[in-house]
Symmetry: C2
Subunit: 317 residues, 2 copies
Amino acid sequence: MAATRASGTTTVRYGTMHDNVLSLSVVLSDGRYIETGNQAPKSSAGYDLTSLFVGSEGTLGLITQLTLRLHPQPEAISAGIVAFDDMNSAVLAVIQTIQLGLPMARIEFVDAATAAAFNAYAKADMAEVPHLLFELHGSESNVADSAEMFNDICTDHGGQGFQWSSKTEERTSLWAMRHKAYYAVLASRPGSTAVITDICVPISKLGQAVAETRDDISQSSIQGPIFGHVGDGNFHAILLIDPDNEKEKAEAMRIGDKMATRALSFGGTCSGEHGVGMGKLKFMEAQHSAGWDVMGQIKRQLDPLNILNPGKLVRQN
Amino acid sequence: MAATRASGTTTVRYGTMHDNVLSLSVVLSDGRYIETGNQAPKSSAGYDLTSLFVGSEGTLGLITQLTLRLHPQPEAISAGIVAFDDMNSAVLAVIQTIQLGLPMARIEFVDAATAAAFNAYAKADMAEVPHLLFELHGSESNVADSAEMFNDICTDHGGQGFQWSSKTEERTSLWAMRHKAYYAVLASRPGSTAVITDICVPISKLGQAVAETRDDISQSSIQGPIFGHVGDGNFHAILLIDPDNEKEKAEAMRIGDKMATRALSFGGTCSGEHGVGMGKLKFMEAQHSAGWDVMGQIKRQLDPLNILNPGKLVRQN
C-alpha cells in the first residue's frame, strides 16, 4: 500500500511508525496469511491495510515481517541546542520555524528538571532551564543556512546560548542530554521506577499543556521531569515512584489520567506514541465516540474468538 | 489520527492523499457519524481509521468533512526542465537524486509524444524527446544549490538543455507543458476521447515499465502519450480513441490491462492514484491475495446491506 511515500518528490521526512512502514506480512486469527503492500511507492488499489495493522497493538493479527522505508544518508548533519527561560517561548520559536518551512529533521525539548537530572548524572554544567535540541539534514551550506535562521528565530523568542555543529563528535555531545535523559531522570532518585506516559496536543496548546502538567507534578508528592517532541506537540512525563509505595503509584496514575483528560480537552490524543493497552482504555470512548465502536467491529470481524491480545485497545464486552 | 505528520520535524513532504488528510468526518451506512482524528499532529490511540477511509472509494462511508494538512509557503521556489534521449536515463538520474537525499518537491516526466503534442498545441519548440520537470522549495540559496546539484546529476546521465528559474513567470512557463499535457494530448487527435489509466512500480523498474508500455502502444492501432510522477514510480497513459470505435476501445482496454498485469509482475500496483472501481476489480485478487478478502470482510461488517457504492473495489459475491 505504501501510501506514506511522497508523490513526485524525494524530500525526506522522518515520521511516525505509519510513515516508515511500507508493508507488512500478517498472520490473522484464523491462520490466513496476508501481505499488505508491495514494492510500489504508492498505491490506490484497495483499503490501506498497512495503516490499519500498524498501531493495532497485536489485536488484529500477528505481524511476522515488515518493510521499512530507508532514508538517504544526508550529505551533512548539523545538531544544536538552545536554552529558554520558559517552555512557552521555546514552543513559540518552534511554531514560527514550522510556519517558515525551515526543514528541521528533529526538534526535541527537555524541561528544567531534565537538565538538572542530566547535570547530576553526567557531571555536566547545563543551565537548569528548558532547552530545545535540534538536528538539520542537507548539504553543508543548507544546514549552515538553516541553523543560522533557526538561531535568529530562537533569539527573537529569548533563546540563549545557541550552539550548533556539523562535527560528529560535537553533535553526539550536544545530543547526549536527550539520549541519556531517561537514565539521568531514573538515577535522580535511586531505587525508583518510572511511570511513563505521553500525550499529544495541537502544537498551539503545547506550552500550556506542559505548564499545567508541570504544575500538577509540582503540587504532588512525586517528581516527574518532562521531555518530548516539540515539533509535533507530543511530550512524555517520567513520573518517579517508589515501587513499593501504593500512595505514590496512585499519585502517578492520577497525574497521568489528568494529562490524558487535558489532552482531550485541548483537542489532542490520550496517547501520542505509547500503547493504549488496558491503562488508557478508559479514555477511548471520550476520544473517539462512535469511532471506537467501529474499531470494535473491525476487531470482532477479524478476531471473532478474541484470541489476539485480548483485553486491549477496543471495548471489552 | 493524523499519523502522517512527521515526528519531531517540520520538514515538508508533499505526498499522497493519505499524507495530506489529517482527519475525516464520516457518515456510516447505518447512519452513525464518526470523526476519525483530532487536532493532535499524531496519535497512537486506536486503529488508523483515517487511512482506512481515505481511498475506500465511498464503499465504507460517506465522507462529509475532511481536514487537510497545510504546507508552509516556501521562501523560494525554483522550477526547471531537462531533456533526455531516453526515459531510462531520466529514471537513473532521478534514482541517484533520491539516493543523495536532494530535497526535490516534485519530479515529473513527460515522454516524447507528450512533448510533440505540446509543440502542436501551444506552438512551442520543445525537443521531441523525454523531459523531466522539477520543482525545489527552500531558501533562495538552498534551491540554487539543489538546482545546480541536480543539473550535475542530469548531465552525468545525458541530460541536455537544463534550465531552471526562481522567477514566478519563468517557472509558470517551464511547467506549462506538464500542466497542459492532457489537453495537448487530447487536441492531438480532434474528436477523440481518452482512456486514462495509471500504474505504479518500484522506481528501479520504472524505465522498463514505461519502455514496454511504449512498445505496446506503438504496436497497436492507437496513440497514447505517457507522463507521470517519476519520483514515485507512477505513470499515466493517455490512450486516445474514437469513442464510436469499439475496436479502438477494446485496444485501449487491452493495453491498460497489460499495463496492470505488468505492474503486478514488477512488484507494483494496478493503480497508483486512480480508483479501482469496477474496471480494475479483476486485478485485486492477484495483487492482494487474502488481503482482498480482509477488505471484503471490513466492507461487509461496516456496510452489511451493501448500499455504499455497491459493485466497487471489493469482491462481489
